[in-house]
């Protein structure tokens, strides 16, 4: 299988009053390209920390992270910013749309960020179509339901055609039915568009959608299945 990302012996310690607290320890995972990878675990298991490290939002205390052939732990702050801008996209648990922008503008903003020149309108509408919300383009986030907002967030994450999309508990704030709909969109994206998606969840019911599942507990990898 073709892997787009992999980690080697990654650990992440947080300073606490006494000893360092290791949120992650000796994690080695591989993210297959064009597939949906699920990081599973209870709250506090370290899955979000791992995802933040994968997405270059956070730096590991030890170990290395490869994006393709590049060791991204060696990148400067500036380079990591550029990496996030061009090559990855994020969907967060808390519905993280920019409140003063319409749905359309939120998606458009990702394109602006990535520095897309020329006609962005077509791509924005395309992404909104993908998540089935083209008719809500001019609505403000507050005017949309939770599921709709999360779908807009997904549209935003894919707009600039990133290589990997990270979704941290994308269904966490949604009811089961809506959550399921969101994960179905992810599946479609991997299948139709060939996007690589990494998603964390604590919901056992969603396991079946993953091409690859890693399970974490207490900061360690405990289970792996394909």
């Amino acid at each position: 299988m073709d892997y787009i990302m992999r980690t080697e012996q990654v650990g992440r310690a947080f300073k606490t009053q006494g000893d360092d607290f290791w949120a992650l320890k000796e994690i080695s995972v591989e993210i297959p390209k064009g597939k949906l990878t699920i990081l599973r675990g209870r709250s506090g298991s370290g899955k979000t920390t791992l995802m933040n490290i994968l997405g270059a939002l956070d730096q590991p205390t030890e170990g290395t992270v490869y994006f393709g052939e590049q060791d991204i732990t060696k990148l400067s702050e500036e380079e990591r910013t550029m990496l996030r801008r061009k090559r990855v996209g994020f969907v967060f648990q808390s519905i993280a749309l920019i409140p003063m922008m319409t749905a359309y503008e939120n998606v458009d903003f990702a394109l602006r960020m990535a520095g897309c020149k020329g006609d962005r309108k077509e791509r924005v509408m395309e992404c909104l179509h993908l998540v089935g919300l083209a008719n809500r383009a001019d609505h403000m986030p507050q005017e949309l339901s939770g599921g709709e907002q999360q779908r807009i967030a997904i549209a935003r994450a894919i707009a600039h055609r990133p290589e990997v999309i990270f979704a941290d508990e994308p269904t966490g704030a949604l009811d089961t039915m809506t959550g399921l709909a969101v994960v179905k969109i992810f599946r479609e994206l991997t299948e139709k568009e060939g996007v690589t998606i990494v998603m964390t969840t604590h919901d056992v019911g969603l396991m079946e959608f993953g091409d690859q599942v890693y399970e974490l507990e207490g900061g360690r990898l405990v289970h792996e299945e394909e």
Binding site: L57, R84, A96
Partner: protein, 933 residues
């Protein structure tokens, strides 16, 4: 519960600090205002009393009673003395000295002088404690008992020896003044005296004015003459000198009341006359005191209002932050009453802490303020007494109450909210337009204040007449100006988005994501920026307004003094004349003897000087009569132009052109324009003007002027009814040489332009032993004017207003930004996750800054200037006096504006630094987690 409240406060240090700053300033200023007013008034009272001595050469706090008692009333003379002594105490002032002067009313005539041909009149007198206030120059002090021949010993003032031809050792037999046994009173002169010190207040009239007085011991006088069987009446003068060194403004009412009741009592009791030197002075002071109080209060109100608004803003913000907390507390069963109690407790804790700091702060503030000399300028003043007035406590209590209310009232509405409707509310779509825009508050305010402005402009004359008669300016005027300031600022705030939208339309495709985002935020979250923008622009507008007001008031006062004085130094020597000779022999022509002018030729420290004839007793014949009391200025045009101080913008052309025209022909004159307006005189006409001794001169009119150094076109004088009326003044400017040819040499003034300091003139005066009939030093006049209560207080209060405005502006600004960042941490996290660099986020904030703070600041500055342009011409009427002549202009000082700009810049830069530190410290990963509520 207290622990809960304390814990709660500790958790919000920023907000609590801001609330404390607001409250300390609020309490401090509320409390300091009356203290400051008292302090300024006290100082003004002291200088009024001090000037009284200087100007009138009379003791200011002197109560005097004069009476004559006939023989049958003798007992009552003593009685009344006791009564007066009792009464004197009622004024509440310590008595510095009480002098009892008694004499036999009828002058005795004596014939038995050594030389029979001389007759002398003498008045047998006695003064209490005489021996302590005299020096015996010849002979000795009197004995207190008559000798065996029943001769009483007396001493006389030195002057009597010369004028009355009295001799030491001589015994006088008073022909008409006899003892009950018909034997005449015999007095022996044993000594002559002068006063022991020059400035002894004891001598209300100098010893030499008692030239008929034969002074005998007072006890002896009382024993021998103040008896019913003594036939002559006795006169008495009582002088009560009050010690005013510790006199308080608050004592004035009592002093005036007691004076009136004493006057009544003594007059009713048959005492003839009472005099006091102070009733007029103190009554005038009372009138100005009222004016000072109102003016100070009115000036202080906008500062207090903006402080209250600040406290309200911060506590509302704090509540917003606690909204979730409140909702949770409620859902856990905390009752509304308990909730309100918690907030009440919290505001009380805050107030108490603020109060503890505010007390010394108020004291400090008064001290600092009292040393304010001009706007933002301080001098060291020693012996500053800060007066703690009862009003201070009243103001303080009101401020505390208001502050607690401001902090607690918002909770009443919010305490109804439960967690459920809190969520609902959070998700509700907000209306785009702020309340004031929907209700057109800006237009309403502009209309109301515009109407006020219009009305006051039409009443200018009445307004200034009222001020001249001692009233304070109508507070409505100040209120109108504040309303206008708010209205105009809001109006600008309304049109600002239109501009922004235009810019957005043009650039939205070209901007970087950071700029684009900040623009969107500025446009779409207008409502949440509204309060901070209003607050910022109002604060700055008040700051600018205060600065302009202070500068305008000071400058106009200075310019007026400069104009009326004419030059840096104006002095006139005493001229000798031959009036004695001329009055005895009509054939001798009256003439003056000119003091030597050569001593001025190389006066060091003087840049230039000139002779100026300046008199007001000229008569001009015009069609249908005469104009009297015309002012005549006789000048040497060139030197006058170099020496006099004159703001040439007062005339349509440069005033040198007028001087040049005047110099062309010897007989040419410049006249005040009212000659043309009232009497139809025109350029080229010839007039004749004559002085008080009927010398006449011909003048050919070369020009008309509205203003000329020292010339006041209108004089205001108080009529008998106490109302100020305007009288017109006329002016002739002529060549001095021409006047001297026609009038002869007439006393002139010396006008001097200094090289910067006027100190040299005092040495020069001393060295040359000059006797001056007029001396004005412009620089000390200017300083003196700054000591006036109104001007000084205005400067102090405006300085405080300005500083408070800046402090609040900075704090308000920081709070807003810190909060807006805290609120948006999640958003920044998203931006960072999407690949926005730190630099871009800071650019974004900077840009938001620009649009919110900078525009608010610009609006404020513009608003302040416009408001002061419109209202200052009216407001400064409140500062005009009867001698205000120069047209008043509104002006801002460049240095004040630079100061303002620097402070605003520092505020923005400082704010930005703090913000970038906060942002840099923010961890993206953590920021994102914060969102997971």
């Amino acid at each position: 519960m207290i622990r809960f409240v304390l814990q709660k406060l500790l958790n919000k240090k920023w907000m609590v600090a801001a609330l404390l700053i607001g409250n300390v300033l609020f309490f401090g200023i509320a409390m300091a205002t009356p203290m400051y007013t008292e302090t300024i008034l006290q100082r003004s009272l002291e200088s009024t009393l001090g000037n009284y001595i200087k100007e009138k050469n009379t003791y200011p706090m002197l109560y005097q009673i004069r009476t004559t008692a006939f023989p049958r009333d003798k007992a009552y003379l003593t009685e009344r003395t006791t009564q007066l002594e009792e009464y004197a105490d009622r004024f509440g002032l310590p008595i510095r000295l009480m002098v009892k002067f008694q004499y036999i009313t009828e002058d005795g005539t004596t014939t038995d002088l050594e030389r029979e041909d001389r007759k002398a009149t003498a008045r047998i007198s006695s003064m209490s404690d005489l021996k302590d206030h005299i020096t015996i120059v010849q002979g000795r002090m009197y004995e207190t008992e008559p000798d065996e021949d029943n001769v009483i010993e007396a001493i006389v003032p030195m002057k009597s020896l010369q004028d009355q031809g009295m001799l030491i050792g001589e015994t006088l037999t008073m022909k008409s003044i006899v003892y009950p046994d018909e034997s005449p009173v015999k007095i022996r002169i044993v000594g002559a005296f002068t006063s022991s010190a020059n400035d002894d207040i004891y001598w209300v009239a100098s010893p030499s004015s008692y030239k008929t007085g034969l002074f005998v011991d007072q006890d002896l006088f009382t024993r021998l003459f103040a008896r019913e069987d003594f036939e002559k009446s006795i006169s008495g003068n009582w002088f009560v000198f009050y010690d005013y060194s510790d006199m308080r403004v608050s004592q004035i009412d009592r002093i005036l009341e007691e004076t009136a009741s004493s006057d009544n009592l003594f007059k009713k009791g048959g005492w003839h006359t009472t005099f006091n030197s102070y009733v007029n002075m103190l009554t005038e002071f009372k009138a100005s005191e009222q004016k000072v109080r109102i003016t100070f209060l009115v000036l202080e109100v906008p500062v207090l209002v903006i402080l209250a608004a600040f406290i309200f803003m911060v506590s509302r913000q704090m509540l917003d932050m606690e909204q979730t907390e409140i909702a949770v507390l409620k859902s856990r069963g905390v009752s509304r009453k308990q909730l309100i109690l918690i907030y009440l407790l919290q505001s009380i804790v805050l107030s108490v802490v603020a109060l503890v700091i505010a007390l010394p702060f108020a004291y400090l503030l008064v001290r600092v303020l009292s040393s304010a000399n001009a706007f933002l300028q301080f001098v060291r003043r020693h012996n500053l007494k800060v007066i703690f007035s009862r009003d201070s406590l009243l103001y303080l209590a009101a401020a505390v109450l208001l502050s607690v209310l401001t902090m607690v009232v918002p909770i009443f509405r919010r305490s109804r909210v439960t967690i459920v409707n809190h969520r609902q509310r959070k998700n509700r779509k907000r209306s785009d337009k702020p309340l004031w825009q929907r209700f057109f508050a800006d237009f309403i305010l502009l209309a109301v204040s515009g109407y006020g402005l219009f009305t006051f402009y039409n009443q200018r004359e009445i307004l200034s007449e009222r001020v001249l008669s001692g009233a304070a300016l109508d507070p409505m005027l100040y209120i109108s100006s504040s309303l206008f300031m708010l209205g105009f600022g809001l109006f600008l705030l309304r049109i600002l988005p239109l501009l922004e939208k235009l810019v957005y339309r043009i650039f939205r495709e070209k901007w970087s994501p950071a700029l684009y985002t900040s623009y969107l935020r500025v446009l779409r979250t207008r409502k949440s920026q509204d309060f901070i923008m209003i607050f910022l622009f109002m604060t700055l507008a008040i700051g600018v307004f205060d600065a302009v007001a202070a500068h305008t008031v000071n400058r106009n006062s200075d310019q007026n003094i400069e104009y009326l004085t004419g030059a840096d130094i104006v002095m006139k020597e005493r001229w000798q004349d031959n009036s004695d000779a001329a009055s005895q022999d009509p054939s001798v022509e009256f003439r003056y003897f000119e003091p030597s002018f050569s001593k001025y030729q190389d006066l060091k420290g003087a840049k230039s000087l000139t002779k100026v004839l300046n008199t007001k007793d000229i008569t001009v014949s015009v069609d249908g009569g005469k104009v009297n009391n015309v002012q005549l200025l006789g000048i040497h045009t060139k030197e006058f132009g170099e020496t006099a101080r004159f703001d040439t913008s007062l005339l349509p052309e440069h005033w040198f052109n007028y001087l040049n025209t005047l110099a062309k022909t010897e007989s040419s004159v410049l006249l005040s324009s009212n000659f043309h307006e009232n009497y139809g005189l025109n350029i080229g006409d010839t007039i004749f003007y004559r002085d008080s001794r009927n010398h006449s001169a011909r003048g050919v009119i070369y020009g008309f002027v509205d203003y000329f150094p020292t010339y006041a076109p209108r004089n205001y004088s108080k009529g008998n009814d106490g109302i100020y009326r305007e009288t017109e003044q006329f002016l002739i400017v002529a060549n001095l040489s021409w006047i001297q040819q026609n009038f002869g040499v007439t006393p002139y003034e010396i006008w001097i332009r200094t090289e910067g300091s006027s100190a040299f003139i005092y040495d020069f005066r001393e060295e040359n032993d000059l006797v001056l009939t007029k001396f004005t030093d412009l620089s000390s006049e200017l300083q003196e004017s700054r000591r006036g209560a109104i001007l000084q207080g205005t400067n102090g209060i405006l300085t405080v207003g300005f500083i408070v405005a800046l402090v609040l502006c900075t704090v308000g600004f920081l709070i807003y930004w810190i909060l807006s960042i805290r609120e948006r941490e999640l958003q920044f996290g998203i931006f960072r996750a999407m690949g926005m660099s730190m630099r871009e986020i800071i650019t974004m904030l900077l840009n938001e800054h620009l649009y919110i703070s900078l525009f608010a600041i610009l609006i404020g500055v513009l608003d302040g200037f416009v408001t002061s342009r419109l209202f200052m011409p009216l407001i400064q009427i409140g500062y005009s006096s009867a001698d205000t002549t120069v047209p008043l202009s509104v002006s801002a000082s460049a240095s004040d504006m630079v100061r303002l700009a620097v402070i605003v810049f520092l505020m923005l830069a400082g704010g930005m630094t703090i913000l970038s530190v906060i942002i840099r410290r923010m961890k993206i990963a953590q920021a994102l987690k914060l969102g997971e509520d």
